[in-house]
Point group: D2
Chain length 151, copies 4
Amino acid sequence: MQRTVERMLRTHPEPAFAPADPLTACIYACVECAQACTACADACIAEHDAALGPCIRIALDCADLCQAASRVLSRQLAPDLGVVSMVLQLCATVCDACAYECRRHATTYAHCDVCAAACRRCTDACRGLLATTVTTYRSRGPYEAAEHAGV
Amino acid sequence: MQRTVERMLRTHPEPAFAPADPLTACIYACVECAQACTACADACIAEHDAALGPCIRIALDCADLCQAASRVLSRQLAPDLGVVSMVLQLCATVCDACAYECRRHATTYAHCDVCAAACRRCTDACRGLLATTVTTYRSRGPYEAAEHAGV
Amino acid sequence: MQRTVERMLRTHPEPAFAPADPLTACIYACVECAQACTACADACIAEHDAALGPCIRIALDCADLCQAASRVLSRQLAPDLGVVSMVLQLCATVCDACAYECRRHATTYAHCDVCAAACRRCTDACRGLLATTVTTYRSRGPYEAAEHAGV
Amino acid sequence: MQRTVERMLRTHPEPAFAPADPLTACIYACVECAQACTACADACIAEHDAALGPCIRIALDCADLCQAASRVLSRQLAPDLGVVSMVLQLCATVCDACAYECRRHATTYAHCDVCAAACRRCTDACRGLLATTVTTYRSRGPYEAAEHAGV
């Protein structure tokens, strides 16, 4: 799949908003993490263990937010870099929180161990891209959306 | 629909993480905005006007992020208030950016005018809830997730 | 929200693929049902009752499929009526299955009662639109996509 | 990512509803196709070519439906095999329609060529799993949900 992500970026009429390697890696990590969290939430529900409640909840949030992030990152036309940056920070934070919950159950439930690893990869990929994006952003000069964002 | 949102909150075994009125209003505004942005992006594509490119892009992002936000806000079990707060800030920001783009075309395209109004309502609802949530958060004492979030 | 849905349809440059009233009602019902199912799954998880496993699972499926349906129905540009028809049939089926599961727990858990009612409204709205869409489809002559669909 | 999908299936407390190999392949193909369609729609919008309207529209539908399918397929707890079967048929159909549109522009736009290939792989994976699932379904005896599905 990484090859498809990379080829879609390369054939897009607009240049990517960030270097292809960390962007490809981040889209891929978000998509992998969204799937792992969806599956882990389902597996945790099937364990019928009340202690897993917070783990299920954060995994469902993480799946939704990683999925939305993978879509925002897949678009190269007229990106709002302020929004992209917030998406990456949120994605890194929710993956971090989900990895933390999953790791607490990782010795009992192997699916939590697999999910925690996917979350950790996604946090790292988001932070890696965030550093790059901020650089790209600066090289483009003042962010025009900042004028109207009002937050 | 607001009545259904409110009844789901009231019948949940856990108390809502925020007062019912602004939470109901925010879930409703996110869901309405996600639909309006999906429809507006489609309408803009059908206009075949190259100037609408940035408007289509931010509307697609806004639809994805409002939809993810509506899901996170609909869950009351073990919320991670750090994540919820970031979701609300991101949602307010992307709605603001989408409203700004749509307003630029509102006199030419009536769908952009309708969409801008939905985005503006969503920004306001997110900021309204954000103020309340922060208060709730403080009344619960130090946020435990802060220990591990590392961001 | 129904007013926003209806205004987006009316201001779209393309005519809607179905009469405005049942289409508006169906988009609205899908969006309402997706939110109710997301909230009901979360409430059921919080009940810590193993008997709710199948209810949680179908509610999560129902939320995902109603949400996808609301997006497909919100688009009026070049609809593939074969796809639209399958989306409506699937949405009606999953809402029916979710309503069935929720009703089994409706006397014990009030959130299941609220959710079952939203599912039932969505099933009805999908079937109502399906009847109308099939008519529209026939009045347009043989469905061109049928040539290549191969299924 | 295929390894993560496969490990999540293997560590789930419930047996998968279908053999692991075609199920893993199908989840992976849905996720890949959803990303490719999201990126292709964005690239097509950036081409500013009115002839791409129908291609953008079906790509957006395909992204939403493949994504929903990937989630339904990732859950193993208490699957409703009637719903799963309809999801697979719908996903195969929309991928087929998107591949058809993308192929029409594949010589002009390389991103449409990449996207058409991802859609084709997804159609094949859905049909492959569908055959297997029907078999599994029969080996389990009469489908209990059929009693209440009413469609």
